[in-house]
């Protein structure tokens, strides 16, 4: 199986995205999120973890990584809307996620279709 070469921009964008996703993880422990309900930290945690997994896929130039990232982005936006979290981090998240998606889609065709 031929290894697809990872372009430089994907490398940079994925590293930035990984840092942002991992920085979002402590958000689960914040009292404001805990107060929203027993299962809210779990839902947000699953979204963050899946985004992390998708980025590992993108790092390995796999199409499923991009697909998973887009799905998780949509779920995250819907969840934030349901939770009425219309604050700075919500709009910041949409902004940087859309930027990353554009970069990923530019290289989508070059990516591997297998797992």
């Amino acid at each position: 199986m031929a290894q697809v070469t990872r372009p430089k921009d994907i490398r940079i964008v994925t590293i930035i995205a990984l840092i942002l996703v991992l920085l979002a993880f402590p958000m689960l422990f914040t009292p404001s999120i805990k107060r929203m309900g027993d299962f809210i930290p779990m839902v947000l945690g699953i979204i963050i973890t899946m985004q992390f997994v998708s980025l590992i896929g993108i790092w390995h130039m796999k199409q499923w990584g991009v697909q998973l990232f887009i799905i998780m982005f949509c779920i995250r936006v819907i969840t934030f809307m349901f939770l009425d979290l219309y604050e700075f981090r919500f709009f910041f998240n949409i902004f940087y996620s859309l930027t990353f998606i554009v970069f990923f889609l530019i290289h989508y065709r070059k990516m591997d279709t297998n797992l």
């Binding site: 993880f25 422990f29 914040t30 299962f39 779990m42 699953i46 973890t49 590992i56 390995h60 797992l115």
Partner: protein, 414 residues
């Protein structure tokens, strides 16, 4: 099909964990400590918060307190403005009661530390409160034995007293029945007429357990009612349907007229309500919670690195087995699932052990601390969630690496 794969993955993962017991134990220890640290902090913070909120609510959330000092805190507190204010007086209570339309119940309360004595049993510095009759309808409390004082006893300043659980135990240690007995309150004989229900320790220090309550007109015989040390205040409870804001507006007008304040003069009294206290505590608990999350977060991080490290070692050790599995037809996702399950299982076990330790700690604390510390459902869910997610995050990279191995090269590996 999927279930078979799932079962096989679990069996492989379990086999690997059992084969290296010491390594399994050491790697789950990191997560155990992490979960223990983070959930312990949350459990303690939640318990403290519950206790304080309970104490605040016992003051009544539809009650407005007329006091000298406002319940606001912070660096910009202009204490010099408040220190020359007069303290609320009992005579103002009757005026407010006469003029107010939105009040359901109103009372006056003073309190100070005095000596209680019964035979050879003495309690120094006991909190003795003097209540007007109406204060009993404003404050929430329960009497387990005896009764609340009558209106004529309150007005006439009868020497009757109601005791909190701790004080009653201190004055009547050998299961002696206190009702009807005479004790000395600040050197004056007083007949015990009621016992308050045990409330437990309160973070605000307003538990009824440590209080002796006498009628205000009796208390003023041995308390300086005009002194700030007696902490006098008027408490007014709003009628059903009346908001605290409406009640405060009315009280402001009445108090200003009683005190003869000119239209442009500042109020010389504070109208406090319990939600002011709650707001102040919200900020405090948020800070403690965030601090706890940071401390616990780092512990979890260390635990996660431990699991990732062990998983890399595990993949390295079993590389030729992976090669054989793949050459016999095992799919990439089977190899991925196998290692991922191992990481999640390790992490989850660590988390469960951490939660069990906390549960044990709460049981042990139950007998030592006079405050209810409970491991709540939300903290259990949070602990298990964090364990599973850390397992996935730390195990995915090694597991994915294993799934991508070339079977021929993997078999050749020693």
């Amino acid at each position: 099909m999927v279930l078979t794969l799932l079962k096989e993955s679990i069996v492989f993962a379990w086999g690997a964990l059992v084969a290296n017991k010491l390594r399994t134990f050491l790697s789950l220890l990191g997560i155990t400590i992490g979960i223990f640290a983070i959930i312990t902090v949350f459990t303690i913070v939640d318990s403290l918060e519950r206790n304080i909120r309970g104490s605040v609510q016992s003051l009544g959330d539809n009650v407005v307190f007329v006091m000298k000092w406002p319940w606001t805190f912070g660096p910009d507190y202009p204490w010099w403005k408040y220190m020359n204010r007069p303290v609320p007086e009992y005579s103002e209570l009757a005026e407010v009661q006469r003029k107010a339309k939105s009040i359901d119940a109103i009372g006056f309360r003073i309190g100070t530390r005095k000596v209680l004595k019964h035979n050879n049993n003495t309690i120094e510095n006991a909190l003795v409160s003097g209540w007007s009759y109406g204060y009993g309808q404003v404050k929430s409390f329960e009497i387990v034995d005896g009764r609340y004082f009558r209106e004529d006893e309150a007005e006439g300043g009868y020497n009757v007293v109601m005791l909190g659980h701790t004080l009653a135990e201190g004055l009547f240690p050998n299961n002696e029945y206190p009702i009807g007995k005479t004790i000395k309150v600040a050197g004056r004989n007083c007949k015990v007429i009621g016992l308050f229900k045990k409330e437990g320790e309160s973070m605000l220090g307003n538990s009824m357990d440590n209080q002796a309550v006498v009628p205000y007109n009796f208390a003023r015989l041995f308390m300086d009612v005009k002194s700030e040390n007696s902490d006098p205040f008027i408490a007014a409870k709003a009628k059903p349907g009346v908001t605290n804001a409406q009640l405060k507006d009315e009280l402001t007008g009445i108090m200003r007229s009683i005190r003869g304040l000119k239209p442009l003069a500042d109020d010389d009294f504070a109208l406090n309500e319990t939600n002011l206290l709650s707001k102040n505590f919200d900020g405090l608990f948020d800070i403690v919670g965030i601090a706890g999350a940071i401390i616990g977060g780092f512990s979890i991080l260390v635990g996660g690195f431990g699991i990732a490290n062990i998983m890399f070692v595990s993949v390295r050790e079993r590389t030729n087995i992976i090669g054989i599995q793949k050459s016999l037809g095992a799919k990439n996702y089977f190899i991925l699932a196998q290692f991922l399950f191992e990481a999640v299982f390790l992490s989850l076990m660590g988390g469960i052990i951490g939660l069990l330790l906390i549960y044990g700690l709460t049981l042990a604390a139950d007998g030592v601390i006079d405050m209810e510390i409970t491991l709540t459902r939300s903290n259990i869910i949070l602990g298990l969630t964090i364990s599973v997610l850390i397992g996935i995050i730390s195990g995915f990279i090694p597991a994915y690496g294993a799934s991508q191995l070339d079977p021929v090269e993997a078999i050749r590996t020693n």
